[in-house]
């Protein structure tokens, strides 16, 4: 089963983390990703660039894409990184999420990914 672990950003949270502590978070995240790679469970881990870099694409009735800056302005928390793991159970996915340092700050959202097998067991 594949699960997506989503970490949302919140400026007040991450700005309040001291430099040394942040470096420790980086170190722990690296260590976790290495461990997940070595166990054969890591499908991918990606940091998402700042929301300043985000574009929104909408295609209207005339078929011409309209590109605007940024995500929805009212969002208080935005996607900061995501990790996809392929593991044996939801319990294992939750364990991985709990071991991610972000779980101590913003929480880690765990979402099962849809698959094409005909039966969900």
């Amino acid at each position: 089963m594949k699960y997506m672990l989503l970490i949302y950003g919140n400026e007040s949270v991450w700005n309040s983390v001291p430099k040394e502590e942040f470096e420790e978070i980086v170190r722990q995240t690296d260590a976790q990703n290495r461990a997940l790679f070595e166990s054969g469970e890591l499908v991918g881990a990606y940091g998402v660039a700042d929301q300043d870099m985000a574009k929104m694409v909408r295609v209207n009735g005339d078929g011409a894409p309209a590109v605007t800056d940024g995500p929805y302005a009212e969002a208080k928390e935005y996607l900061a990184s995501f990790t996809i793991v392929d593991c044996d159970s939801l319990e294992r996915a939750l364990e991985i999420a709990a071991a991610n340092p972000a779980s101590r700050y913003t929480g880690v959202e765990v979402r099962p990914l849809m698959h094409e097998a005909k039966l969900d067991v």
Binding site: N33, E38, S39, A45, G47, E116, K118
Partner: protein, 519 residues
């Protein structure tokens, strides 16, 4: 007997090595993500998904036996299958001669890939098995030599291959031994499945990765880790002691059934890039049945696979959507597979101790033998679920029995049984309960309740085809304007049974699931 333990350094899986070498190590933080903005928590770059380089063509030193066929651009699917069929015998011979299961397994994989490159170009060898064994032995010995040289530098004596290899055991024994080893109880189910596909079925890492839709380095690492674990557990290349064999065989059966179900997808049949795991599972189970002919559960599992897979041609509509059992065109079922499955399960039930796979196969056989959905012998299915529940109790079995109960005694009886199981932690909150309730409520004529339950089930499943199916059911219930609309919903009193039979398809959705969950 050669032990699989004994190589001190685990860092020699070429797949893992190439995975690590071919891209930035996953632990290397990417400056782009660890730099400011500091409001972003860090993430490292993933292993890339491009395939690792396959070994280049063999040097001319490799045996290039007399070509027996015109060279072609690549091996045909059939040739590739035959080639893969040689893997257990070649791997077994190599391990018995040299030990080091993990290194031998890599060497055989390299020999396979070399054959795929070389044979089409230079012609097929007259004796493919000898060719594979020669190439794999050479790869292995090269590896062991460099290993030995390294160890000598570390002031350890190294002993290479013994001069006189022991007599090779029959190839069949090797397949069985390999199955037991790959399905070692210390491995997780996904690791057992991956290793079995490579070391017994002879699939390449790239093929297995495609089958599971994960990057190749991920799968390479999973396989490498599985082999490390087996070595750490001290497992040897021997059949398990007699006292353990029965329990170990159950694990093998679970892994094979897992493979079968992984392959149970709409698209696997016509997707050339994704190996057909269902076909591989049937092939391996058939082989196991040949090696362990006296075990009723091996026969039962093979029968269950055949009887389930027989419906595959009718199970999917042209648009890829699920066709429930009751609505399938039964003329498209594979009658040869059904006949074989029925014969297998009939014989097992008559002569062997009863087991869960046999009972599930018997249930599948009752479905397969019904000329029409209406003619399904539901009382017999209900009785079989009753037996199954006594033999292997669990909420999934009870869920299925609730469907059969409704078919025989009406939806209210089914709902009563459902109420006893829906609080079970193992199924509470899962879509199976909602799907069964929706079905039973629809049978009972409660369209609003059925609609809500179908939608809840659709929200809770993670299978896309199943979700589409459940949404379609929900829409159908909502669209029905009166009690006589839809699928002839038992308008007349006492018509419940006929209506139920026409709606029996959902039973299959749950039915097939049973053993996966129990396993």
């Amino acid at each position: 007997m050669s032990g699989v333990s004994g190589v001190p350094d685990p860092a020699h899986d070429p797949a893992a090595a190439s995975a690590a070498a071919g891209r930035a190590a996953p632990a290397t933080a990417d400056p782009a993500t660890t730099n400011p903005p500091a409001t972003n928590p860090p993430a490292t770059n993933p292993p890339a998904t491009e395939p690792t380089a396959e070994p280049t063509a063999e040097p001319t030193a490799e045996p290039t036996a007399e070509p027996t066929a015109e060279p072609t651009a690549e091996l045909s699917a059939d040739e590739w299958r035959r080639l893969r069929g040689l893997v257990p015998a070649v791997l077994g011979a190599l391990v018995r001669r040299h030990g080091h299961f993990d290194l031998c397994e890599d060497a055989v994989q390299e020999a396979l890939l070399a054959a795929a490159v070389q044979w089409p170009r230079e012609g097929r060898p007259a004796n493919p098995r000898a060719w594979l064994l020669t190439v794999a032995s050479r790869r292995l010995l090269n590896r062991l030599r460099s290993e030995a040289a390294r160890r000598r530098r570390e002031e350890h004596a190294a002993v290479l291959a013994p001069a006189d290899p022991p007599d090779p055991a029959p190839a069949g024994d090797d397949t069985l031994t390999l199955l037991f080893l790959c399905c070692h109880p210390t491995l997780t189910p996904s690791a057992q499945a991956a290793l079995t596909l490579r070391a017994v079925a002879g699939l390449t890492t790239a093929e297995i990765a495609r089958a599971y839709l994960v990057p190749e380095p991920t799968m390479a690492q999973r396989i490498s880790r599985a082999k490390q674990r087996i070595r750490a557990a001290g497992a040897t290349f021997d059949l398990p002691p007699h006292a353990e064999r029965s329990a170990r065989l159950r694990v093998v059966l679970e892994v094979l059934y897992l493979l079968f179900n992984e392959g149970y997808t709409a698209s696997s049949g016509d997707d050339l890039l994704r190996p057909d795991l269902t076909a591989e599972a049937i092939r391996l189970t058939r082989e196991l049945r040949r090696l362990v002919p006296d075990d009723g559960e091996v026969a039962g599992l093979l029968a269950l696979m055949l009887l389930t897979d027989a419906r595959r041609p009718a199970r999917t509509a042209p648009d890829g959507s699920l066709v429930p059992l009751a609505e399938q065109d039964r003329s498209r079922w594979d009658t040869a597979a059904i006949a074989e499955g029925v014969a297998l399960v009939t014989d097992a039930l008559a002569t062997k101790p009863l087991g869960p796979y046999q009972l599930q196969a018997a249930i599948a056989a009752v479905h397969d033998e019904a000329p029409t959905a209406d003619a399904t012998d539901w009382p017999q299915i209900l009785a079989l679920y009753g037996l199954l529940e006594r033999l292997a109790p669990g909420p999934m079995v009870t869920l299925n029995r609730a469907v059969a109960e409704a078919m025989v005694h009406g939806p209210e009886a089914g709902l009563r049984l459902l109420a006893t199981v829906e609080v079970d932690d193992r199924v509470a909150g899962r879509h199976h309960v909602d799907a069964v309730r929706a079905h039973l409520l629809e049978m009972a004529g409660d369209r609003a309740g059925a609609h809500a339950a179908y939608l809840r089930a659709a929200r809770r499943t993670t299978s896309t085809p199943e979700q589409r199916y459940l949404h379609a059911r929900a829409a159908r219930v909502a669209d029905a304007v009166g009690p006589g609309a839809g699928a002839g919903a038992g308008a007349g009193a006492g018509a419940g049974e006929a209506w139920a039979a026409s709606e029996a398809g959902e039973a299959e959705v749950v039915e097939v699931v049973v053993d996966r969950v129990r396993a």
